[in-house]
Every structure is written in C-alpha cells, then in structure tokens.
Amino acid sequence: MKVVCRHGHFAFYPFGPSDIGRFNSYFSQTLEMENDYYTFPFLKGAPRTSLQTKPWLGLPAIKNYEGRNAWDVMKENGFVYSIDKKIVVPKASIFVTADIPRASFYYLASTALIQPGCRVITGQQVLSYEGNFDLDQKTLKIRELSFE
C-alpha cells in the first residue's frame, strides 16, 4: 500500500483489492475513499479553505486560506493529523521523536506509520513523507521525507 503523507494529511493508494481490508484490520481503522485515494475518516471531506478563527475540522484556523487541496490548508495553518487521537492537531503540539534509519534504498520507519510533526534525531520536524507500507511485514519503507 502506497502511503502519502502531505503536510500532515494522509492518502493511501492500495496496490491490490485486499490491501484496504488488511490495512483496516491491522490498524483497527476504516479508511474511506476520497477522489483517487483512501484516507482516514476524520480527514474525508476536509475543506480546502479556512477562515481565521473559524473551526477547521474542529480546530480554529489561524489563517484565511484557499488552496487546491485540504493538505494545503493544513500546511498554511500548521495542522497535522494525529494518528493516535484521530483528530487534527497543531503541529506544535507534537513532541514525539522518530527513529528513521536509512536502509539500502529507503528509510525504514520504526513504527507502522510516522506521526507527522514528529522530530528526527537531528531535531528536524517531519511533515511529509511517501513510501510503501508492506502489509506482510508490517513495515513502512519510506522513499522520501520532507522536513519543516
């Protein structure tokens, strides 16, 4: 399953028909389809605009913004999806660190999914990444990482 985390928003692209079911079973989640990808139910239908002080997925927006996608709004407002809480939170509220060692042709995450907003050992904040979640080995192999 291809995993694309863009500025704290998640999009999943299954490789086969059973991927979503296996992923849902493993994560006790029910991914929902939106456009050409699947995402967490909380993020489905997220607006691509925000108005300062108006709640955006329950969190007061800090900027007026209109973007092409929901993750553009998340970037501008400094929001990320919390995998643990299953809601959107300010990226500044993420204090976890992640160990993402480099393997041969990819980075190997130590957790099944990396929490956007976490920091690597150098202190840089991970906001976006793209990789494949191996449903057999239950590992996330990351091809690309983007920091704040």
């Binding site: 691509r48 108005l51 300062q52 108006k54 209109e66």
Partner: protein, 117 residues
C-alpha cells in the same frame, strides 16, 4: 483556483460562514451595510458587495430629477410670456425638442431600471 462564499459587510467588517473575515479587502466603499460575496484565493480574501440595490436607487433618483426638470422646462416653455409689454405678443415654445430628448432619456432609464439583473 478561487472559491466564493456568501458574505455580509457591516461598518467595514466582512462576515462569512459565521466569522468576521480578518484582512479582507473590500472592493467598494464599504460604508453602508451590504450583502455580497467573499472570494478567497490562496491567502487573499476579497469582498464584493451586491450593488444592484444602490444602482436601482440611483436610477430612480435620476428619473425623478429628469421628470422634474422636464416638467419645469415644459411649464416655462409653454407659459406664453409676453415678448413685449406693449405689443402683447406671447412667446412660442422654443425648447420642445430638448424637452423631448430629456423625456426620451428618462424613458430609457426607466427601461434600464426594470431590466436590472
């Protein structure tokens, strides 16, 4: 790609979707209360009022002014003032075509007002 929302403006404060829109550029004088649309384009936000009511009121005032002007001129032009106090010769109307032109413009404005979109 921009997005449009319904909005109102009161005393220069634009409100849309239940919140005051901070930093919104008002594309009018924004003095009187109005309803209109909020246009969001990335970090920019614009308010565009619906000026149809203002325009209609303006046209109505212009029609009233032209009606009164035409009426006054007609009264003067057809008053048959004596050209000479001793001769007793009344004046003939001189401004008939000009008054007709004013009436024609007034009719055009009336039509325009009824056809406002």
């Amino acid at each position: 790609m921009s997005k449009v929302f319904q909005a109102t403006c009161v005393s220069g404060v634009v409100t849309s979707q239940g919140v005051a829109v901070v930093g919104c550029e008002i594309l009018s004088k924004g003095v009187e209360s109005s309803s209109g649309i909020l246009i969001q384009d990335e970090l920019k936000a614009y308010y565009l009022p619906n000026a149809t009511d203002d325009l209609k009121a303006l046209i109505e005032k212009m029609i009233t002014a032209l009606t009164q002007t035409s009426s006054a001129l007609t009264s003067l032009d057809t008053a048959h003032f004596l050209l000479s106090a001793t001769g007793g010769v009344p004046s003939t109307p001189l401004a008939t075509s000009a008054i007709s032109a004013i009436d024609s413009v007034k009719a055009d404005l009336q039509t325009f007002k009824e056809a406002l979109k």
